[in-house]
Symmetry: C3
Subunit: 263 residues, 3 copies
């Protein structure tokens, strides 16, 4: 990852202001919308079966997040994914809690078969649970290493012809062949709810306006880490960390990217 | 707009503490509830078809916001509007995203015909989309000027015997004949999600306790602008702007109103 | 209440990191999840009838909050309560707005009969409304004193073999026989939405990992008050109070507990 590539991708978002259609969970809607606005994109949240197809027609990308799913929402997710596929806009899927319950895992498989996503973005255990359900039949290993998650990610990426973005202490992104590795962020990030969901939403904004989707998805993760480091300088706990990340998304300059990017 | 009128309306809210029944969207529920509490009103969020009529009986006003609508919610909105009409309490409608999808526009028309609102509060494009759907048959002009939105607002206000409150860089409010114009606020406001929804909720609190509804609706918008200016003095981005607006609603004094009010 | 007992209970949560399954309202989901993370617990929000039983199997406790209820959610709440009962994990019920509408009161009675809770946590008027509906037939007294709420709490505690935790300027907790009384907190707390819901969620975390449930439920309330006092030192209004409480949950040390605890 080079700083000027991250900055170019970020500037691209700010210049083009993509409209990101989110079908996401109740917990994070406010912070997701605020993060998209702060970064220079435009959020729309719409989940009614009666309107998701129409909303997709005016959107630049679709982000589907199953954090607080229920049947009618899943119906809408599938309808929206199919519409996004027809229109040819990027689709990002965040398989929140895949593996925690059969309902979550099964729903993810339905979403993936409704239309190949551009990006699957989750943590190591979600990616491994997904690969296990989609590919293997044996149980998920309970002690996931980052490396084994990367193997699972490569398999998923090849099966669904997509990018898989794994967040963690070190982020890994792959299109099945190439791998981008990113370090950064702050140790308090796991103490803030929904930062993974924010990462998925930003990924939706970045891939909406870029040619190189793998690079753009990685730039989104880099921006998350840089914002967290900027915020950590002002934060005194996880509450203020979340708050100042919003300010950091808004204020992030080329200079900030150059100073903070680790790779 | 005179500062002492705005202050009187604000003090009225703080003294009377109206209970505002909100049927609003998932994105803003937390910030809406916090804004109402900070300003001195009391929020209640209830959307079940089984209880909205009962909740209206204890409320001072009803605010209906279609930000994340779906069929069962629309059923409840209509039931609540009819109950509020029977009881004679003010109804505020926020037509979030009217014009973006047919479902939104059609729902707005259903809500408006369920019971004339006291106030329709939206941005220029929403008001124009609504007027277009309710009155005209030709398509919505994509380049809305504030003036043409004001014309649309006057038509809507006369058709539904209500006040129309248009937020923007300059706010316009009209009852169809009289017009109040307001300047103020901060350039970062569009980077915070749901400030329009907050404006609708405060409008619900202000019109609940005032005789002069047009003036009260304008005072609510003035308070939004003043709070944003107070918050901007402490804010370093949209995250901290949203936060400090809550503090400003709580702390706003007669002196603040006098110093900050522009008109 | 002794400070070392509160600290032991808090440290227990931080050390054991219980997974708290919340079926709660839309208004508070974000702040509830953040509070649980900050205190050292792990939140999961899941409300689909199709998965609540599976989610309960991996949870350490279940918190059910009826703030924005609707029929499908109530179905899921009942299913989850029955599953939690079978598994033997603690159940906390927050009867938000009990007494405000018949639907709320009736739902509470259904939840209570679905499986005796470990803790009912509400404010004085909710507890009195509940006791009135569950035990008496005459109307709820409109002027509830803290004492009469305590009487109602004792009756409820005996009827449902549970702890009742009443929040207010002074908190009262009882198992029907013993009473713990707590003073503390900050006068601005009622100006922040959902702090009662946060108290219920923390109660879920504390009773999940402690033997003495009455003591643990009281420690959760003590931690709320201490966090509010810590936050008030930095806050300039209700917005910043809510924010800094999250930081305080995260930072709270044995020394903070010893200095701030009043009883």
């Amino acid at each position: 990852m080079k700083a000027n590539q991250v900055w170019n991708d970020l500037k691209n978002v700010k210049d083009k202001g993509p409209l990101v259609h989110n079908i996401t969970n109740y917990v994070v809607m406010n912070t997701t919308a605020n993060a998209l606005l702060a970064i220079g994109a435009y959020p729309v949240m719409a989940h009614a079966v009666d309107e998701v197809e129409d909303m997709v027609t005016i959107a630049s990308s679709l982000v589907v997040n199953i954090g607080t799913l229920s049947p009618r929402w899943v119906d809408a997710m599938i309808k929206a994914i199919k519409a996004a596929k027809r229109k040819g806009i990027p689709i990002v899927i965040d398989p929140v809690g895949a593996g925690a319950t059969p309902y979550r895992t099964d729903t993810c498989l339905m979403l993936l078969s409704a239309g190949n996503p551009s990006v699957i973005r989750g943590n190591a255990s979600e990616i491994m649970a997904l690969e296990n359900a989609a590919v293997k039949t044996k149980g998920v290993d309970s002690t996931q290493s980052s490396e084994s998650a990367l193997d699972a990610a490569k398999v998923l990426a090849k099966k669904y012809h997509c990018i898989v973005s794994i967040s963690g202490k070190i982020d890994h992104l792959t299109d099945g062949n190439n791998v981008i590795t990113l370090e950064g962020g702050d140790d308090m990030m796991p103490k803030v709810t929904g930062l993974g969901c924010t990462a998925s939403a930003l990924t939706g904004a970045f891939v909406a306006v870029a040619e190189d989707k793998l690079q753009a998805a990685a730039s989104a993760m880099a921006v998350m880490g840089i914002a967290a480091e900027m915020a950590a300088e002002k934060a005194t706990g996880p509450g203020t960390l979340q708050l100042h990340m919003l300010d950091a998304f808004y204020n992030m300059s080329e200079d900030d990217v150059k100073k903070k990017l680790r790779s």
